[in-house]
Each structure stands twice: as C-alpha cells, then as structure tokens.
C-alpha cells in the first residue's frame, strides 16, 4: 500500500501474544520501516511485516495561517534601521510538532515573532540572499552578498546583520572586510546550538549583534558567544576571527588579536545591554569612511596544508590546474620540506604568488630564522605575517582581483588593509574555556 506522509493510519501487528494496534500519522523516514507519530507525541518505527494497515484519513490539512497576529509594525522613528540578510544560518526556526520538521525562519515577521527583542532595538528589515549550509558557500556567493550589503547601506540601512552558518563564517567575514568599505557596522552572527532548542544561543547572539549593528563601530565583525554562559558576546574583527571548536557556544576566537570588544547580555532589559570596547576601531561618521565596493575576486586560489612527508607533486598539481595564487599552511615559523623549494621557485617564476602562513595559527611567520625559511624567501615566497591561513586565502583572492602585478601583489599582501595584519605581536589572551 502506498502511504503518504501525513496520512493518519492504523497498524495492526501480530505478535506472540496477540495483536497490537498502533494509530498515528505517517512521518518521513530514511529507514525501511513505517514511522508514525502517535497521539502521545512519540515517534515509533514498525516493520512492515505481519501488519495490516488501514488509512483512517488522508493527509491532515495543515493548520491555516497562524492566528491573526500579523500586526502592522509601525516604524519607530527613534530607532535605527537594520537590515538582516540571511544566507542560511538560522537565528530563528520553528518546529512543527505534528510532523517533527524544523524549518528555519527568514521573514521579518517570523524573526521578530521568535526574537521580539530585536523590534525594541531597531526597525528590522529581513531579506533572504541564500538558503544554504555554510560549507556550501563559495567565493562567487561572497561577491553577491557583498553587493547586497552595499545596496542595503546605500538604500539607508544604518547597520547590517548577516546571519550565517558558523562553519565558514570566518571566511565570509574576511571576504566582506576586504570587499566592502563600510561607514556602518556589518555584523555576522550565527548559532552553535540549533535555533529549534530552547537553549539555543541564536537569540542572544542575534540580540547582541543587533546592539553592535546600532553602535558606532564601522567595521565588519563577528558577534558570537564569549563563554559557555549566556553572559556576554565577543565582537571579533572579521579578518582575525576563527571557529576554534566544533560545537561549543564559545567557538569563535580572535587569533593574534584581542576581540574589539564585548556585549554584556541582560534578559531583564534591552536597554541594559552594554557594549565595552577593548581596542581602537573605525567609527561611524569618520570622514574617510565612504561607502565603497571592490568585489572583484580571483577565485582560482587555494590553501594547501603541509604535513610531514607531503609530496611536492601536490603543488605541481595546482599549478597545472591553472591556479593563480596559492596559500601554504606550513609548519612552525612558516616551513615546508626542502623537497618543496624547487616547486615554490618554479611557481613564483611563472607569476603565481605563494603566501606562507602557519598551522600554529598563533604567532607570526618568520622565514629568516632557519635554512629552509631562508631558502623559501630566496625562492620568492611571500610571508603571510600574522594572518590566519583562511584570511590570507581570501585576501589573496581579493588582491589578485585588483592586480596581477607580482610586486603589487607582494606589497598588498604585506599591507594591513582590513585589520588582518596586526604587525605588533603581544602576548595573547587565549579565550578558550577549560
């Protein structure tokens, strides 16, 4: 018998002790068993052998439009206008208890319904740019996103919030940092614990992000939980931030830099949510901050992680594939094995810039200390300074989008464009929790 999801069915199953009757609604499943949701709310799976199935009623009609709560939102004159651009990371989602499906929410109404506090902070406008998992992001999408951000600001948005999956949020933050010259805050936010759970970090991150988006900070930043508690979010510079934990709320850390600041969360009163800045930042209203968009990228760039014994043919492969720029994630101060050096020299000679970063993440590249390093410099490697490997990759794409002149590329890679090179190393305070 053909069963449709949503059918209400009765299953009579023969057992050793007689017949057991189950009644419920057919659920979607990947298993070969019939999965139904009982009236108690539980799902169970039943093997389709020795059963009699009877359809009681067809697909139960979905409940109509939710309530009549589509209140007309008045524009609050005293509140700033924020645009929320969604790329697929969810800050709001809804659970359908009948089917068990979880659906992310993007419309302004739905977001405000789930996180009403946002409406107290700003006049919110929601827009869906992409609905993708962040591992499916790509350079081409960064460009479209940058263009959308630019358009929103041009059209009067006083702050931008980009909701983003956390996996590649750091890359997108770096990309926007290079591509958009912004007079207003551009805040990337996401959640580490899914928005469909009451404990999700989505709402708090979004509320803190909205506060930052209304502040005088005119930079691209990531605002995410600062600790395992729901007590504060850090404001990380878009070029210095990295996801450092697979699942914990405090996954995002500034590397080779301290966070720009933090947002103290307060559930009792939105007004009490306080910002604290740790370091200098570009300010809204500064004269030189004119809106600009330089979104050209050379997408044919790659990031190669070196490991002991790694075959130098790996490098040759990318060169033959026509890659225009390569970032290496070397060991320690910035090394690959001596075997790789002729390949590096060949690439540079062909006009392919090679940038060295470190898999240590913390600290700066210095190829003048050991022989291999000196040989690499001689072969023409560009030291990536204290840049994150991922940021160096995005920057190389952007630089090659602006120029192909090798000397110019070398110069730009060493120039601090969007806070990606701190230049002056200080003792890090690593914000990992114990």
């Amino acid at each position: 018998m053909e069963l449709k999801e949503g059918d209400r069915i009765r299953i009579k199953k023969k057992t050793d002790s007689g017949v057991v009757v189950y009644e419920g609604i057919v659920m979607p499943t990947a298993s070969r068993n019939i999965v139904i949701k009982l009236d108690s709310g539980y799902n169970i799976g039943i093997r389709p052998e020795n059963v009699e199935i009877e359809v009681i009623s067809g697909v139960e009609a979905l409940k109509g439009e939710r309530g009549s709560e589509k209140r007309i939102r008045k524009v609050k004159e005293d509140l700033p206008i924020l645009s929320i651009l969604s790329t697929g990371g969810t800050i709001a989602s809804k659970v359908d208890y009948r089917t068990g499906a979880v659906s992310p929410q993007f419309s302004t109404e739905d977001i405000l319904e789930t996180i009403p506090e946002l409406g107290q902070i700003a006049n919110i406008k929601g827009k869906v740019i992409y609905s993708i998992l962040s591992e499916n992001m790509r350079a081409e999408y960064w460009r479209k996103l940058a263009a959308e951000v630019y358009r929103e600001i041009k059209n009067g948005a006083e702050g931008i919030i980009v909701t983003h999956g956390t996996d590649t949020m750091g890359y997108t933050a770096a990309a926007l940092s290079f591509m958009v010259q912004t007079p207003v805050p551009i805040v990337l936010v996401g959640s580490q614990r899914s928005a469909d759970r009451p404990s999700s970090d989505a709402a708090m991150n979004a509320i803190c992000a909205a506060r930052v988006a209304c502040s005088d900070l005119a930079e691209v930043v990531v605002v995410m939980h600062g600790s395992t508690s729901d007590d504060f979010c850090f404001i990380h510079r878009g070029t210095k931030v990295r996801k450092m934990h697979t699942s914990a709320r405090y996954a995002f850390q500034s590397v080779n830099d301290i966070p720009i600041g933090r947002v103290y969360y307060d559930t009792s009163n939105i007004e009490k949510i306080r910002l604290e800045f740790f370091s200098a930042y570009k300010k809204r209203g500064d004269k030189e901050l004119e809106l600009g968009l330089r979104d050209k990228l050379e997408e044919k760039c790659c990031l190669i992680k070196f490991y002991p014994g790694a075959d130098p043919a790996i490098l040759d492969f990318f060169i033959t594939q026509g890659y225009k720029g390569i970032v290496l994630e070397g060991t320690g101060l910035g090394h690959v094995s001596a075997e790789w050096i002729p390949g590096v020299a060949r690439a540079v000679k062909q006009g392919i810039p090679l940038v060295m970063t470190s898999q240590c993440l913390y600290g700066t590249i210095c190829d003048r200390v050991y022989d291999t390093g000196r040989d690499l410099l001689h072969a023409g490697i560009i030291e990536g300074d204290d840049m994150l490997p991922e940021t160096a990759l995005v920057k190389l794409m952007w630089v090659l989008g602006q120029t192909t002149d090798m000397e110019e590329v070398r110069h730009l890679m060493h120039e601090n464009i969007a806070g990606e090179i701190r230049g002056r190393s200080v003792k890090e305070k690593v914000h990992l929790e114990i």
Binding site: V20, S31, L38, G45, D96, M204, S229, D230, A248
Partner: protein, 633 residues
C-alpha cells in the same frame, strides 16, 4: 470514603534509574556527586519553542513567565553533552537492553524501531530545554489481587539535572549536572487502579519487577513515582515526585479528599453567589508603620484583592494540613510572593487595626475575604492575577494540574497539565532498530517469574503454598535464598515470617525498617544459627537495628541483654531441675513439660526454646539416672 463509589481512577507513572556503566547519550559515569566537588559553573536562559500553530506549549509558556536564570554546576565526571555544548551520542545500547528486559517482564510489546524525541521542558532541569525520551514498548500489563492493570507505555529517557535548593537570590535556580543523562525507564500504567490500596500494591509490584533485573539503581531518589488521579465530577490531576512507596496510598486518599472538598466548596460558593473582583489595590500606605516582619522584609510594599463571599473559605481545610488558602498561596509563591488573607488575620505581626483598614479599602463585609501579598509591584501583580484566576476556577471547576507531592502525603500546585504536542524528533540521535535476535536473547535471560519461583520454593524449602507465594512475591526473595543457603539449621518458615509479617508489623509500629539492609539480616541469622539468642527475639533485634543501623548484631545482642552464656543457661536449668528433684523422680520424663514453663519464665527470648527443651530433657534424664542408680544401691 469508598473509592469505588466516588469513581476513583488512578494510574501510576514510575521512573526508575538504570544501573548502566555510562549515561544515556554520553560516556560519563552514572555517578552522583557531592555538590562541593563541582569544578565550575555556568549560567543560561531558556526560551520556549514555538509549535506549528505559532503557540507555545501551555506548560512551557507558564515556566517562561517566571523568567529565571539557571546556574549549572559541572563536575570532572560530566562533559560537554551535559553542558549542551556538544551533540549527544547514540542511544546507550546497555540501557536499551535493560528497557527491553523490563518491557518483556511486564508482558509488553516492544516497538520495532526506537525513535528518540525531544520533550520540551523549560524549568531549567535540562540544559537544552528538552528531555530526550524514547518510546520502547506498549500494550502490557500485570495481574493484581484486585484485577488486571494495563501497562500502556515504557519509555527510555534521560534523568534531569537535580535542583539544588536556591541559594539566597530567588531569581537564579541552581542545578547540579551529575544526575542529568542517567538513563531511566518511565513506566506508565493505564488508569485501571480503583482503590488507594491497589495503587500502593501496583507500585510495589512494579518496583519488585524492576529490581528483579538486578540492573536498576537502588537507594533514595533512584525511583520516583507520579500518580494520575481523577474522581467523578473532579479533574485529572498529576501528582509528581513521590519518593516513598509507603506514601502512595495516602496520597491517593488525600487527593480524593481534596477534590471532594473542592466540589463542596464550589457548591458553597455558588450558594453564596460569590464573585471575584479583578481590582488590584496598592495597600502599602496602611502598613507604613507596621510591626509585621514579613511586610518589612518585602520593603513595605503590599498589594491586595477582595474575594466577595469567600469569608471562611480560605481557612477551610481541604487536605490534611492544607487549607484552600494554601492552594491560592501556591500560585503566589510561583512569583516569589507570600500570601496572607483575612481568614487568618490578624497574625504575622499584622494588627487588628490594619485588618480593619484593609477591609475598609475594599468596603469588605464580613462575608468577604481580602487577600494580600507583600512584594514589589512586579511580583505582586502577576501573583495576584494568578490568585484571582484560581479563585475564579474554584467557582467553576477543579483545575487539571500538575501537583508536587509533599512529605506529609498532601500535595501543592506545581503547573498546569502539559499539553500533548510538546515533542519533536531528536535529529542528533539515530533511530535504533530492535532486531528479533536481540529480543530473543534478552527473552532467554529473563529473571524468574513469580510462579516459577513459588514452585521452586515449595519444592526446595518445603514451604506451604501460602508462605511460598508470600516470599516469592516479596522484594526480599533473593535475600531469603541467600539466608537459606548460608545457614542450614534455620527453618525456612522463620525466615519467611521474618522478612514478611515481622517487617510488616514493625512498619505498622512506625519503625523505619527501610534502614535495615541485607547485611543486617544475614548477620542476625548467622548469630541465630550459632544459637547466640532465641528466635523469639528476632523482632526486638530488628527494632533495635533499625534505630541503630551502624551497630553490629553481636553488639546489639549484648546491648539488649539477650546474650546468654550457655554455661550459665545449663547451670540455671540444672539448678531448677535439682530444686524440683522430687517432682522429677515422681513424674519421670513427663516432668519436662511443666518444668519448661518454669525455665522459660527465666530465659524467654534469650535462648531458643528448642535449645532449652533439649537441655531440660538432658538434665531431667540425669536426675532420673541418678535416682535409679541410687535406688539400686
């Protein structure tokens, strides 16, 4: 009150922790910790999830209204899963096996595929805001003396974090994470229970079946019972968190009393044409110079309402130790506001004059009742609104609700009954298919049934039908076997009587027999087997041990003064026999009977009767032999 006549229907829900090596969804040990050993703590908030209708589940929403902060204490024996910082692992197979075993023992039908669900709970007891739970089996049942009781469902779920009594600040609730994630089975019976006594027996029987697996945790807090009760014209009420089996009968009785009394109150309120005014007044002025400490502590802020026609109603007892006023106070307490009313005032340092002024504010007559709370406006208003709603309900119906069992056997309001639609799939945990071989294997290893055990006891220990039945259904059956195997000279009937009737009698005398552990019984029978005391003293020893469980049996025997030096006993009997020498010579062996009485008067409880009899026979024989030889001289 006749439970049948009033249409009592009750069902039990039993939560039993399983004794698995690791937790249900992570590799942490299932070990409870001293809260002082906590290595760090963190703070969280929870938000209610939305249902498909855009409505928040009623029970979930009610919790959110209290907007509390949760503090969690973590340990070196808890991990990121408990912190809700890491996805759960797969459903612990050891726990699934135990759940299946219990299901089979309850004649239930396991489902073919177990799906883990998320059940929304936002009181903070689960860090993620939901409890993970899976339905494992349905459609079973057990036979009881008063008929068949269906067992509708068996779920495998994770235990919640335990609440640590709030430390000072009333807004933050502190939870300990050691208990979170310990596997437990939740067994729900059908509402087939008809009397308070049956409720208690079903709970006992289920408890015993669980323990017979040898794979469940024992001790305080490892088993918790919830009871669903309704009577005709009443409402379904769920009473949660009964930790003491002995209270179950009493709780059912007290709930029946509560509902019956609420029905009476409703009729009375109707007769009086009582009504509720929604006006909340700020009464702080009246108490500007009060001597009441309760009010001073609340910063002198007092708000109140008037319940017209409610005079005397709030002071009416509806359950042992609880008046209708206590019911209303439960609602106010939810918002951290204490409640007082004119049925009980003047009291708490509130003066006669203040009461008069209170009543005057509302133009209250002697038929009315003024209810006040001492708290700032943010607490007082929602508290009084909740009280108003409850008072309105009193004129209409008995509210369906979840209540909390109190140690006295009464109960207090906890929250509304949860709605059904609070569950959605836990997508992080894959479903588990239960294959037939696995079930077959578990079936082949099931613990013995009562019937089989009973037949075995009759055969092996020569017990009669009644005693064999009694002990095979008794939770102490395995202890019985151990005693019998260890001490051959102890009669089976004595052990059965001790473990059943004697304990029941002691319980009736309010002796805390729960304090007696297996080793107490083993040691006692060891001493008895060595004739260290007489079997008549068993109840006395148990009574003593229940009071001082840390003492050794040997010491206890000395303390009670039971220990009799056998040499002294023999001497005593010899003296008695010698003093009655003439009588012995005259009656011969028949003298034993009458002399037994005399000897027992001296030694009762100190030495076993049989032993005395044996010595007495010996001594009598000696006298007789001496007499014969004397005659022949």
């Amino acid at each position: 009150m006749d439970d049948h006549k009033i249409g009592l229907k009750a069902g039990l829900e039993i939560h039993q922790q399983l004794d698995t090596r690791t937790k249900l969804f992570c590799k942490c040990p299932t070990m409870l910790r001293d809260k002082k050993e906590s290595t760090f703590s963190f703070k969280r908030y929870l938000r209610a999830s939305k249902s498909e209708m855009g409505e928040v589940d009623e029970a979930a929403l009610e919790e959110e209204k209290y907007s509390r902060t949760f503090i969690y204490k973590a340990y070196d024996s808890t991990c990121l899963v408990e912190n809700d910082e890491q996805p759960p692992g797969e459903l612990n197979p050891e726990a699934v096996d135990i759940a299946l075993e219990v299901a089979l023992l309850l004649n239930m039908n396991p489902v073919d595929e177990v799906h883990t669900m998320r059940k929304i709970v936002i009181d903070g007891s689960n860090t993620c805001g939901f409890q993970r739970t899976a339905l494992v089996a349905t459609d079973g049942g057990i036979e009881t003396e008063e008929g068949f009781v269906g067992v509708d469902s068996l779920c495998l779920e994770e235990d919640a974090a335990s609440k640590i009594e709030t430390e000072g600040s009333s807004d933050a609730v502190v939870y300990s994470l050691d208990r979170l994630g310990i596997p437990l089975v939740e067994i729900g019976t059908a509402p087939d229970i008809r009397t308070a006594d049956q409720a208690k027996k079903v709970a006992e029987q289920l408890g015993m079946i669980l323990r017979s697996t040898g794979k469940v945790k024992r001790g305080l807090g490892t088993i918790r019972q919830d009871i669903n009760i309704s009577i005709e014209d009443g409402a379904r009420v769920e009473i949660k968190g009964v930790q003491n089996l002995r209270l179950i009968g009493k709780i059912v009785e007290n709930e029946v009393t509560r509902q019956t009394n609420l029905i009476k109150l409703r009729e009375e309120l109707k007769r009086r044409r009582a009504r509720v005014e929604r006006q909340i007044e700020d009464l702080s002025d009246i108490f500007a110079n009060t001597t009441s400490k309760v009010i001073k502590r609340a910063g002198g802020k007092v708000f109140g309402i008037c319940l017209r026609g409610f005079a005397g109603i709030l002071g009416t007892e509806i359950q042992p130790g609880r008046r209708f006023g206590s019911e209303l106070a439960d609602f106010a307490n939810k918002y951290g506001a204490g409640l007082m009313h004119t049925d009980e005032l003047p009291a708490y340092g509130i003066s006669e004059e203040e009461v008069v002024r209170l009543k005057r504010t509302f133009d209250a007559t002697e038929d009315d009742c003024v209810v006040i709370v001492a708290a700032e406006r943010e607490r007082a208003e929602p508290a009084l609104k909740a009280v108003l709603r409850r008072a309105e309900d009193a004129m209409r119906e008995i509210p369906k609700e979840t209540r909390r069992a109190l140690p006295t056997g009464s109960s207090a309001y906890m929250r509304p009954l949860p709605g059904a639609a609070r569950m959605y799939p836990e997508t992080d945990v894959p479903p588990v298919e239960i294959d037939k071989q696995r079930l077959q294997y578990i079936k082949s290893k099931l613990p013995e049934t009562f019937e089989h055990r009973k037949a075995r006891y009759k055969e092996k220990f020569g017990l009669n039908d009644e005693l064999a039945d009694k002990i095979s259904r008794n939770p102490h059956f395995s202890l019985f076997e151990r005693i019998m195997e260890s001490y051959e000279n102890i009669p089976a009937t004595l052990v059965v009587r001790t473990l059943t009737d004697t304990l029941a009698e002691l319980m009736q005398e309010e002796i805390e027999v729960e304090k007696l552990e297996d080793h107490h019984f083993m040691d006692m029978f060891k001493q008895l087997s060595a004739n260290a005391f007489g079997k008549e003293a068993v109840p006395e020893i148990l009574k003593f041990m229940a009071k001082q469980p840390e003492m050794s049996i040997k010491k206890a025997i000395e303390e009670i003064g039971l220990r009799a030096d056998m040499k002294e006993v023999k001497q005593l009997i010899e003296d008695i026999v010698n003093s009655k020498k003439d009588f012995v010579r005259e009656k011969g062996a028949k003298a034993v009977g009458p002399l037994m009485g005399v000897v027992m008067k001296e030694l009762r409880g100190k030495v076993d009767g049989k032993m005395i009899n044996k010595i007495l026979e010996e001594k009598v024989k000696e006298v007789m032999v001496r007499a014969t030889s004397h005659d022949s001289e």
